[in-house]
Structures are given as C-alpha cells and as structure tokens.
Symmetry: C2
Subunit: 233 residues, 2 copies
C-alpha cells in the first residue's frame, strides 16, 4: 500500500455493490482498508467472497470484525440472521422486508469510524444505493449525511480538527445496471462476489430472493452475462 | 418486568455513573433492559459489576454483547484495551486521554439502538456527564443530539413513525457529588460498582487513575463514605 495516498475504510460485504464500491475507491486514489462483519449471518459465503474480492483487488488490509447481531446474540429477528424464510419472487411492496437487520448500517458505520480513526483515515465508503434501499431506512442519503455529522462530533480526530470525516456513497443514485457497467469498466471480477440471501449448502445462489432478482435484472439491463452459476429449482 | 411500562435500554458498564443512570431510568418508570459490552477491555471486573448491579436492581434483561475493540481485534490502541500504561494522578490537561477508545460511544449507542428496536424500546439511557467528559468527544451533549437525530433516520421503527427515539443523559450536567447523592437517594448500592481503569488481579481499585480520582473526590464532596476498598500503594 502506497503510504503517500490518502487512506479510506471500505465496507466490504462480498456482494456486487461493495466490490464495485471498493473498485471506485481504489480508482479515486485511496489506499483502502477493507472491513467486513461476521455478524451472525446465516451463511458465511459472503465473507469468503469478501476475502476473495479483497485479495483480487490488492487491498492493504482486510479486517473481519465479529459481532453477533442474530437473535441468539440477543439481536436480529431478521431473515439474514435467523431461521425466518427468505422471501422469494416477492413483488416490490415498498415495505421494510424481513431481511432488515435493526440498525445494521449504523452499527457497521460506527465500527468503521473507530477503525478509520485508528488507521488515520477520514474517508469511509459504503455501497448503499437507491435500488438496494428497497425499504431499508439505513440506505438513504439522509441517513448517511446524519452519520457524517455524527462522525465529526464523535471522534478525537474530528473534535481536534485533524480532518473531516466523509462518508462516500458512490452507488447511491446508480441503477444496478449502471453499477455493473461501472464495475466491469474498472475490472471487477463479479464471479468472486456473492449476493444471495439464501444459498444452498454449496453456496450456489438461489436466483429468486430480492438480492438475486436485483442482480440478475441488473446484468440483463447492463447487457452483460452474470458470471455466477445459479442453482436449478 | 411490567409489560405495561414503556421500555428503555440502559447502557450499563458496571461503574458508578451507569448504575446511577439505571436507577434514574427505573425511577422514571421505565421497564429497563440493560446492555453491557465485552469489548476487549483489559479487565472484566466491570462486567462482573454490571451483572451484580443489574441483578440487585431487578432489571428485566441484561445482555452482554461481545465485540473486540482492542488492538488485537484491529481496533483499540487505548489504555483501556491494550498494554499502554494507565495514567495516574495526572493533572487535568483538557486533552484527550490515552484511555479514549475510538468511536466507543458511537458503537455502543448504535448497538443499543438495534437492541432497542428489537425489544420495542424508544428510550436509550447513557451515563455520560460533563465531569466524565474529561476530553472524550463522545460524552458531549452535541454528540448525543446528533446520535438521536441519526437514530430516527436509521431504523425501521423511526422511519415508519412508530415512535421517536430519545437518548437520555440524566447525568450530563451533574457533578460527581450530585450523581452520588442522587444514587444514594435512589438506593444504589455503590459497593457493587467498579470504576477503576487499573485494578489489581483481585479487582481492588488502584485509587489513582482518572476514574478512581473522580470517584473518590465525588464521595468526599458528597460527604458520603465510598464503600469500595482500595489497594494500599
């Protein structure tokens, strides 16, 4: 990692969006520290994918922080962490889906902020976007701006004026197809990414959960083949 | 726990301030869920104290969330989590002390927010105060207000208007002596609490770190005996 470059902390889930966000942060000239969470999600394929993506992109440091946000850990009650059925082929209702994990992005950004302060970064990247929003309150620009304000009050680095924390959301206004086109342009290897909420025991994507549906429609609209295999059901 | 009462989540460290905060939350008529963190702090006496305080006060639920904020976990670089000497008998410099853990209260409040959303609470209590501030940026009222704003944007409960999150800081403007007098009035058993940054292997408080000094001066100013034994050095 070039020590002359400004540092950034990039939240990396292992999915298509965060891989693209990482590529964009690197493209903007940041020396990137990637941060992933083992938060009690039902499957760990996305963490494996995060590791592959981080290695393939030559990230300087990739940290995985363990924090149990499942119901077992006293938290979740979400289809991502608990034994609740993942909805399939559901119409867009506009409501908050059962895959919502309470305060997840607030918790992730708070930890990213602490990590940033430790490594001397003032730039955080998170791959939230309007399509992914699909009912998640903590994927909106309004939420991000409020967090940015908080970050500068919350830290020694901010309080002492050593720098100004910024939360970058380069995907916020992009469609899935635009994200995919941008990633392909930057050389993202999407075969390394994992997006499915409900993979089979071998990690094969289901093709029908909200996340798979958005991904497949995105590749179709981008006119590019999705390199991921899907299970046949 | 009376299910008719409004619920609150109270951050409980096991120290004097958070025990008093819990007593005040109970006194205001909230059914309290206590939340503590095993965050890689050098000693676990404060977690044991938190358990004793929660039991003594008849809290409905006491959760301990594990999250490694030490340097080993990729975080800290604080005298509370790492092998850095805890400063003793230091003059009040106004600077940010080495016991500062980057973004700690942001992380704790973020997790408390997720927990609150799960249990259906809209009220969070945290025992920050102007004396404890002693250089910590995340103990200021300005920080708390920014977090409160964030909380209502970050959550499904807030976004859907099911309630308004409030972060209560009843100690914010109180001196240590006032806090102790208030706690004694409410029946807090301060012999159960633990405040020292640098206890000996048996858990005896040092009497000289910032936290012990504030505590001892507080009891002296309140005209009450501190029920804690201190080690003789």
């Amino acid at each position: 990692m070039n020590s002359e470059l400004p540092k950034a902390v990039v939240l990396l889930s292992g999915g298509l969006d965060s891989a693209t966000t990482l590529a964009m942060a690197l493209g903007e000239g940041f020396a990137c520290h990637a941060l992933s969470f083992d938060y009690g999600q039902r499957h760990l394929f996305e963490l494996q994918a995060a590791g592959k993506v981080a290695r393939a992109m030559g990230v300087g440091e990739h940290r995985i922080v363990r924090i149990d946000l499942s119901a077992g850990g006293g938290f979740g009650r979400s289809a991502l962490t608990d034994r609740i059925a993942v909805p399939k082929d559901r119409p867009d209702s506009g409501g908050i889906p059962v895959t919502y994990v309470p305060a997840r992005n607030t918790i992730f950004l708070a930890i990213a902020l602490g990590y940033a302060e430790v490594v001397g970064a003032f730039d955080l990247f998170i791959g939230v976007n309007a399509v992914d929003y699909s009912g998640y309150p903590d994927c909106r620009g309004e939420f991000i701006r409020a967090f940015e304000k908080l970050a500068n009050l919350a830290t020694a680095a901010g309080a002492e004026g050593r720098g100004v924390f910024r939360v970058h959301t380069p995907l916020l206004e992009m469609s899935k197809a635009q994200i995919i086109r941008k990633g392909l342009e930057l050389g993202v290897d999407y075969s390394l990414t994992h997006s499915c909420y409900d993979p089979d025991p071998e990690g094969l994507a289901c093709g029908h959960c909200d996340s798979c549906r958005l991904r497949r429609a995105g590749f179709a609209a981008a006119g590019a083949p999705d390199p991921l295999p899907y299970r046949k059901t």
